[in-house]
């Protein structure tokens, strides 16, 4: 193994002794989750093209444990919304989000997904956070692959530090209730 070129993530903080390593369950679960975020691309326009570049060999999002792009919401962890979401599309996006199992995270990629972008008009949803909760916003029109990778890394930080109990906390239930989900 010594001459191979494999990078491994650093272990979480803990106590090391002879033959044992003690750490918090929270950190281990966070580490595992953060490095195997399966993305679900919801690409409707040009930001989706940038995402294709992000997934391809040059930028290679697979380095971050996102090798498998899931096209079933049920097996995805990270919903990446890329592109203009029209109001007619909003219920579909919402349904996709509802079909994802917990824990689930959302990245809004690009100006349109974040705020409606240049489409200041009656037919376009003014930001996907009007219908589903969003964890990370990636600005840009469209953002470069570096920015999308940066957004994923920001999300990894969130995932690493998230408490394993967060998803059953009253605050989280309240958040979902405010979006009228479930």
């Amino acid at each position: 193994m010594s001459d191979s070129n494999i990078n491994m993530v650093a272990p979480p903080e803990g106590v090391v002794g002879e033959g044992f390593f003690a750490t918090k369950l929270n950190d281990v679960v966070g580490l595992a989750r953060a490095n195997s975020l399966w993305p679900l691309p919801f690409a409707t326009s040009c930001c989706g093209i940038e995402f294709m570049a992000t997934m391809a060999s040059h930028y290679d999002l697979a380095r971050f444990g996102s090798e498998r792009v899931s096209f079933s919401p049920r097996q995805a962890d990270m919903l990446m919304v890329m592109g203009t979401i029209s109001k007619k599309m909003a219920p579909i996006l919402r349904q996709v989000y509802e079909q994802m199992s917990e824990p689930r995270w959302v990245i809004a990629v690009g100006a349109c997904a974040c705020s409606g972008g240049i489409f200041d008009t009656y037919s376009v949803l003014q930001g996907i956070d009007k219908v589903i909760p969003v964890d990370v916003y990636v600005p840009g029109c469209p953002p470069r692959p570096e920015q999308i990778v940066d957004g994923v890394m920001k999300l990894q930080e969130l995932v690493k530090t998230e408490s394993v109990r967060r998803r059953s906390s009253p605050e989280y239930q309240e958040l979902l209730a405010s979006y009228n989900i479930k």
């Binding site: 109001k87 007619k88 200041d120 037919s123």
Partner: protein, 173 residues
């Protein structure tokens, strides 16, 4: 022999008399107005007449003139094309602003089906006799007809838009 615009005009006046008027050449397209109740007959005539042969309905759309007199507040515009001689024609029909309705031409040109639905969707113009007059592009729950001038262009739920960047202030400051 090429089809002259005067021929088109003569044929139409001969057949429809007072119901076709305001003939004029607007740039490179020959235009006329038709009375609302005659539109289906005129379109059918233009399509089937042996010399006119306007066999293709290029476009059908609505227009809104909220400042006009009540009977001329909406217009439906038909563009037709004669493929044999490559001649185009534009037909305008003005209709009432309070109850905008006109007969469908989807029985003459099946392609008018979706174009009339679109015109209904954006202007609320009722096409009498249309087989399935419901919204086609906007969401079904929508209650406004967005291309009418009285409805705002922007979304009411916008929260972080700066009017200056969307040309919505007078001097852009």
């Amino acid at each position: 022999m090429a089809l002259e615009t005067i021929q088109i005009q003569d044929k139409l006046v001969e057949t429809f008399g007072e119901s076709v008027f305001n003939f004029n050449q607007e740039k490179d397209i020959f235009s006329l107005e038709v009375a609302a109740d005659k539109i289906t007959a005129v379109i059918l005539f233009l399509k089937n007449d042996e010399t006119l042969r306007f066999n293709f309905l290029t476009d059908l759309c609505g227009m809104h003139y909220p400042d006009g007199e009540v009977n001329r507040q909406f217009a439906v515009v038909y563009h037709m094309h004669n493929w044999y001689e490559n001649i185009r024609i534009k037909i305008k029909v003005f209709i009432n602003g309070e109850t905008p309705e006109i007969k469908t031409v989807s029985n003459v040109f099946p392609s008018a089906n979706w174009m009339e639905r679109e015109t209904y969707d954006f202007f609320g113009i009722n096409f009498i006799g249309h087989p399935q007059l419901k919204r086609i592009l906007n969401m079904d729950e929508m209650i406004s007809f967005p291309m009418r001038k009285e409805f705002p262009m922007e979304d009411g739920g916008r929260t972080d838009k700066d009017d200056r960047f969307f040309g919505r202030t007078i001097d852009n400051y």
